[in-house]
């Protein structure tokens, strides 16, 4: 049986039969890996806490006939703080779900791996009830994820006709611009008459949105973006993400549902 090593992040696990678990990992070397951890549900399992969600691990995997089998796992880093706050857990699960639904087996991306690591590390560091900071981290994650996947929205020129947006000396544009999720960016004065579902992005949000794709996580976290603007950005990016990646993210809806019943 061939074996291979993989530096991985644990994204999902579920029970298989009496005491085994199927673990889904994002690995640096092989993209998504689904493998069995035999006996992992037993309290005395050699895996015990090693395969917990969001752990960063070094593992050795044997290729099996049907499913690969994890033969060894060592912890590199543990984010114990994630389960100490339900909002943190929810945001981390959004990140997991997005990764599992967009990445594939045998198609590794070092950039995606690093992004996940940085996002989880920052979520873990947050104080409990730091919901705005957590939302900022999610905004950062979505923007960077889109960038890595090649889906950065078009801001400086019109997404339909290509005309330079900021060259137009009209008052509404100095206040911000119109954005189309469907066309994937800003829409000029001429084109906006024919497009439905446009979002108006005010000047403050526009500046943050444009800078987001190249910003560092520290700058996003320390920026004084208001809660309202963070929510606004999150909403734009979420819709843009879902539309262009063409996936459904259940844990996004969950976050809103939980927030609505005001238990945070």
């Amino acid at each position: 049986m061939a074996t291979y090593k993989a530096k991985s992040i644990v994204l999902k696990s579920y029970r298989l039969g009496e005491s085994d678990k199927i673990i889904r990992l994002l690995s640096m070397e092989h993209g998504i890996i689904s493998a069995v951890a035999k006996g992992a549900c037993n309290f005395k399992s050699r895996f015990s806490g090693r395969l917990e969600l969001f752990n960063i691990i070094d593992c050795e995997i044997s290729t099996g006939r049907n499913l690969d089998v994890i033969s060894q796992a060592e912890i590199i880093e543990v984010f114990r703080g994630i389960s100490s706050d339900f909002f943190k857990f929810n945001i981390s699960q959004i990140i997991s779900e997005i990764t599992l639904k967009t990445q594939s087996e045998g198609a590794p991306s070092t950039n995606i791996f690093r992004l996940l690591y940085v996002a989880l590390r920052e979520i873990n560091k947050c104080c409990p009830d730091a919901n705005i900071t957590l939302k900022k981290i999610l905004v950062f994650f979505l923007a960077k994820f889109l960038k890595i996947m090649g889906y950065v929205p078009l801001f400086d020129s019109c997404s339909i006709c290509g005309r330079n947006i900021f060259a137009q000396e009209t008052v509404p544009d100095q206040k911000g611009f119109m954005f189309s999720i469907k066309y994937g960016g800003a829409i000029c004065h001429e084109c906006r008459k024919n497009v439905e579902g446009l979002l108006f992005i005010d000047k403050t949000c526009a500046e943050i949105l444009i800078s987001l794709f190249s910003a560092k996580i520290e700058n996003i976290i320390s920026s004084n973006v208001t809660e309202k603007n963070t929510d606004n950005l999150l909403n734009i990016l979420e819709n843009y993400f879902i539309h262009h990646m063409d996936i459904r993210i259940d844990s996004f809806d969950y976050l809103k549902k939980i927030e609505k019943i005001q238990l945070y």
Binding site: K12, G17, E18, F43, K44, R46, S48, G49, R50, E52, L53, F54, N55, I75, V78, R80, I82, S83, S84, D85, F86, F89, N90, Q93, I94, S96, E97, D250, S251, D253, Y254, L255, K257, I258, I261, L263, Y264
Partner: protein, 199 residues
């Protein structure tokens, strides 16, 4: 070839749906059953149907029961000011087996999961809050698995229960009895240290 005998194949397929049973085991069980008397087989089949028809959830705690109230809830000797919250009914059996606990239970029916879209309303959390109010519970013990999912559900419960003034405790977690520190992972050791107790 048994492949041509439809009734046998049907039963093999039924057994394969059970947890931990692969095609070989399913085949073995079916051939074992084939050798049994008609009476034994009838009893076996009756027991299956009987179980499904009779067993329901306790109206108070959602433990398994053949009546409206489960054996724990009906037992007058149990302390009613303490509730142990578990994920599933089979956990009640395990805790009862230890013989250490004398209070009531509340079976959630799962853990909160954003990724599986299981929220508080999908679990018996509203019913738990109503029960705590009604019984004027003094303490709840959260006895869910010491995993990230279990801990997150516990964190959530703690947050919503704290405001009701009830004392919230959680099962201790750390080194397994009979284990060896040398082989413990960082997560287990970390928990054992943060959950240490005075001797």
């Amino acid at each position: 070839m048994t492949a041509q005998i439809k009734s046998i194949e049907n039963l093999i397929n039924e057994f394969r749906k059970l947890p931990g049973i692969g095609p070989k085991s399913a085949r073995r069980i079916v051939f074992y059953l084939l050798k049994q008397s008609e009476k034994d087989i009838s009893e076996f089949a009756d027991a299956l149907v009987d179980m499904k028809l009779k067993v329901k959830f306790c109206k108070n705690c959602y433990n398994l029961s053949e009546e409206d109230e489960c054996l724990v809830c009906k037992d007058g000797s149990r302390s009613i000011d303490i509730i142990c919250i578990v994920e599933k009914a089979s956990d009640v059996l395990v805790i009862e087996g230890a013989g250490e606990y004398k209070g009531l239970y509340h079976v959630l029916g799962g853990l909160l999961s954003p990724i599986e879209n299981i929220g508080p309303d999908e679990l018996k959390i509203p019913q738990l809050l109503a029960r705590i109010n009604k019984l004027n519970t003094a303490e709840v013990i959260i006895a869910v698995n010491p995993t990230v999912e279990g801990d997150s559900t516990a964190t959530y419960l703690n947050k919503i229960l704290k405001s009701s003034g009830v004392k919230v405790t959680k099962l201790a977690s750390g080194l397994p009895v009979g284990g060896d520190i040398e082989y413990a992972d960082q997560v287990t050791i970390g928990r054992a240290i943060s959950g240490r107790r005075e001797m």
